[in-house]
Symmetry: C2
Subunit: 189 residues, 2 copies
DNA sequence: TAACAAAACTAACGCTTGTTAGTTAGAATT
DNA sequence: AATTCTAACTAACAAGCGTTAGTTTTGTTA
């Protein structure tokens, strides 16, 4: 179906514009103009502006959820799992850096089920990460700081990586992973 | 002058709403309704919606600038300066947690001189922080990681602290400072 | 009590918003 | 050659936007 690919073009264009100015500051006419068509034409391919936002955000949110489930399923130490989570974030950042702006800044403009579903995913994700850290502390692999502070510190860095990755001309992924794992882990072991 | 205090009430109300939904998603009518008056009445006290945004953002941005200048003026080790910067962020977060949402997410909706002035302040701030880290590395106080990665990691955590501080019922400031300094510094020394 | 300033009001402006209805040009399929 | 499908178009809608002008209410001071 050609419609699907055209729909993906719209979503890609919107993702870029949302990254630059935020969801509410971008109009359907802005998106259309960027594609050299009229705003009404967009509705041959998408149901609403809201649908664009939820496709952008939920697709990436599901990648996080699936990635976290894979990490949890592993049979390895807590520290190794933290490393895997860091690498998961970096992989997603590299592939969807612009979508992450919408996920981080515009999720509250989701509606109804989409909003609830996103919030649930995010809470579960944080809870899973928190339990990995707690297990690491119990096992003596991780220093006994307040787990909340460790969680917050690592997650903040990972969540805003998309801003820096864009700004400082896209470093090599493997070097980035090594550096980030060093800086984020060395402080807590 | 009563007008000034009324103006501050408007700014305080707008700050809260901008924190919840973002600058562009909040209308002048929203702000007015939250104050139990009509939108037109706001204009007895402020020039424009834009003025509200720039007062919110630039006031806090100047606190960061002044704070950083004080840190630079100190005669102490690089590590001690990094500690002071961490404490500066925590103090500002505690006092202006909602304004920081606008500063972080809506600065791009500033116009003209205000936008230029903000961007300049932020660039200078980052550059000053970067040079503290570089000096620490040269002096052997800080591990020789890529300074950019250290800067990014610490600054990301500090910049999103306002989100966590709101969510987890406002911890005691001094405990927070001690914990954050531990987690953020121990990893790099 | 009259005068004054502060701060609210009503009404409206021109413009932008997301979205719908109906139509048309071109390409693919029968 | 006729039909169907895709994807664009024009035109318009009702609602909401930031803002202005002019007026009225409210509270303080002379």
């Amino acid at each position: 179906m050609k419609t699907i690919s055209r729909k993906q073009e719209i979503i890609a264009t919107a993702t870029r514009l949302f990254y630059e100015k935020g969801y509410t500051a971008v109009s359907m006419r802005d998106i259309a103009t960027a594609m050299d068509i009229k705003a009404a034409s967009l509705y041959n391919h998408i149901k609403s502006k809201q649908e664009i936002l939820s496709e952008i955000i939920l697709k990436v949110a599901e990648e996080f959820t699936v990635g976290m489930e894979n990490v949890l399923a592993e049979n390895s130490s807590a520290i190794k799992k933290v490393e895997k989570v860091i690498e998961l974030h970096i992989d997603i950042t590299v592939n969807h850096s612009e979508a992450l702006a919408a996920l981080n800044n515009d999720w509250m403009h989701l509606e109804e089920i989409d909003l609830r579903s996103f919030v649930k995913m995010r809470e579960d994700y944080e809870e899973n990460f928190r339990s990995i850290i707690k297990q690491g502390i119990e096992a003596g692999e991780i220093k006994p700081y307040h787990p909340e502070v460790i969680l917050f510190s690592i997650l903040s860095t990972l969540r805003t990586l998309y801003l820096w990755y864009q700004k400082r001309g896209k470093v090599d992924v493997n070097i980035l992973k090594k550096d980030m794992v060093s800086v984020l882990i060395k402080g807590i072991v």
